[in-house]
């Protein structure tokens, strides 16, 4: 794990700021393995989310790997891998 890992709370605040939150979805429930689609975030919301993660953490995310990360757990893991390798350099 990187020194300052990207957490679920970080992700939730980025989602809320960038794309808002669906009233029918409780982001504070156990959402780690829910698909973003089911949480109300379509592809454009995810594009905005990727852009915000990239600029706030100073990393760049591979487009295909990002598209494959369909759940918060997968996305956290992808971002933290990138953060680790960025710090290792």
């Amino acid at each position: 794990m990187p020194a300052n890992p990207f957490t679920l709370d970080d992700l939730k605040s980025i989602l809320r700021e960038g794309a808002g939150a669906d009233e029918g979805v409780d982001l504070d429930a156990d959402i780690l393995d829910s698909e973003f689609d089911a949480l109300g975030y379509e592809s454009l919301a995810m594009l905005e989310t990727a852009g915000r993660i990239e600029r706030e953490y100073g990393i760049s995310l591979d487009e295909e790997a990002f598209a494959d990360a369909r759940t918060p757990r997968a996305l956290l893991s992808l971002v933290n891998e990138r953060l680790s390798s960025a710090q290792a350099v």
Binding site: G18, A19, L44, A45, E48, G51, R55
Partner: protein, 406 residues
């Protein structure tokens, strides 16, 4: 027989009234809402007055997912569409999605959103521009968002012809209804009172520079010196008359009985402006004689040469002082694409209540042979109303609104 297109629901968001009845009571009271711009500091700009909507809180009406992706005009339009559907007693989720379309007009797109993102682009870089900028600024976005929110997949689109677009969109909706789509949400909401929108408006040289709200927008007055921009408009539920009756629509306000659009000749041409032809052709389309028209909702540019052209067109078609003319937009400012749909909504209420709302502040110039309804409303049976709108660049449009057939 061609199916009639009728108005069954009205959603109004105007500077002097948010919602149909608040707007109508303000209009009948002659209560305007022109004041100093509050949405940004106008002190360094030559024009400082606008008709702003106050008290609109998007969070009270719209889901959280929509807020980061919508300009102010789209938020107001979504709520206006909700109100219009509610007024019509239409629950879109219960109707086949291809039976409903959305055709609105737009003057400038989402300028406030666009300005913020362009500022982010030039001050911080492309990574700071919202992904939603891809559509949030776009002319068609109000139609798109209304369509998505309400599950309306029938013929949809946007018409862009400045102020005339508000009527041209209604005409396009009528065409689609004639072709078989039973229900179309139409009309327009514009809202671009932000620095970027403001400088774009100023470039037209038609904006009043007065600082006195009572003297700033004076169509058909000797002191006419441009208009005051406003924000808002109206959304209308238009339906095939038979469909509306079959579903038991609670109310049919009026029929969109006729329309015509014309284009002015280029500057220097010996041909005159096209407004008169638009009026004549719209009347012909409605199969209405000039003496059947009970009121004209004027375009009311408040630019002397344009006022003269409009007054002459009306005098030629109707005769001197032969038809009551009014411009309630003197209370709101010109709402661009939103202006004429608001006038169509107002015409529906005139028909319903038998009253012609007034023009405020204007003292009619002796140069115009018009029966201008000014100061206070005039009681009169209204069966047929003519609504006019002209757009920057030579667009003219006219719509005939008629009391529903029994």
């Amino acid at each position: 027989m061609t199916p009639a297109t009728v108005v069954t629901g009205l959603g109004v968001a105007a500077p002097n009234g948010l919602g149909l009845e608040p707007y109508w009571s303000a209009v009948l009271a002659g209560r305007g809402a022109i004041g100093r711009v509050s949405r940004f500091d106008p002190s360094s700009y030559p024009a400082q007055l606008a008709g702003e909507i106050s008290g609109f809180v998007a969070e009270d009406h719209l889901p959280g997912r929509l807020l980061p992706q919508t300009d102010r005009m789209t938020r107001i339009a979504l709520v206006g569409a909700d109100w219009a559907l509610e007024d019509a007693g239409v629950v879109p989720q219960t109707l086949p999605e291809y039976d409903m379309g959305v055709i609105t007009a737009s003057h400038s797109g989402g300028f406030e959103f666009g300005q913020r993102e362009l500022q982010a682009l030039w001050s911080k870089g492309g990574r700071y521009v919202s992904a939603y900028q891809s559509f949030a600024w776009f002319y068609a976005v109000n139609s798109g968002q209304i369509s998505i929110r309400n599950g309306m997949r029938g013929p949809s689109g946007v018409v862009v012809s400045d102020q005339a677009g508000g009527l041209d969109a209604i005409a396009q909706a009528r065409r689609q209804i004639r072709k078989g789509t039973p229900l179309i949400v139409s009309g327009a909401i514009d809202a671009s009172i932000c620095p970027w929108g403001w400088v774009a408006q100023l470039a037209s040289d038609r904006i009043s520079r007065s600082s006195d709200p009572r003297r700033a927008y004076l169509p058909f007055d000797d002191d006419a010196a441009g208009h005051v921009p406003g924000e808002g408009g109206a959304l209308l539920i238009l339906e095939d008359a038979d469909y509306a009756r079959a579903r038991g629509a609670r109310r049919i306000y009026a029929e969109i009985a006729g329309h015509a659009a014309t284009f002015d000749p280029p500057p220097g041409s010996s041909r005159g402006p096209g407004l008169q032809r638009a009026v004549e052709q719209a009347l012909a389309d409605a199969d209405a004689a000039p003496d059947e028209v009970d009121v004209v909702f004027a375009d009311a540019a408040a630019v002397p040469e344009l006022d003269r052209a409009e007054a002459e067109a009306l005098t030629k078609v109707f005769g001197p002082r032969a038809v009551p003319v009014t411009a309630p937009k003197t209370m709101t400012g010109r709402l661009y694409s939103g202006a004429a749909p608001l006038d169509v909504a107002t015409a529906c209420l005139s028909i319903r209540d038998g009253v012609i709302p007034p023009t405020v502040h204007t003292a009619l110039s002796a140069h115009y042979d018009l029966d201008l309804v000014s100061g206070s409303p005039r009681s009169a049976p209204v069966r047929t109303a003519l609504v006019l709108a002209r757009g920057y660049g030579g667009f003219n449009s006219a719509v005939v609104v008629r009391a529903p057939r029994p």
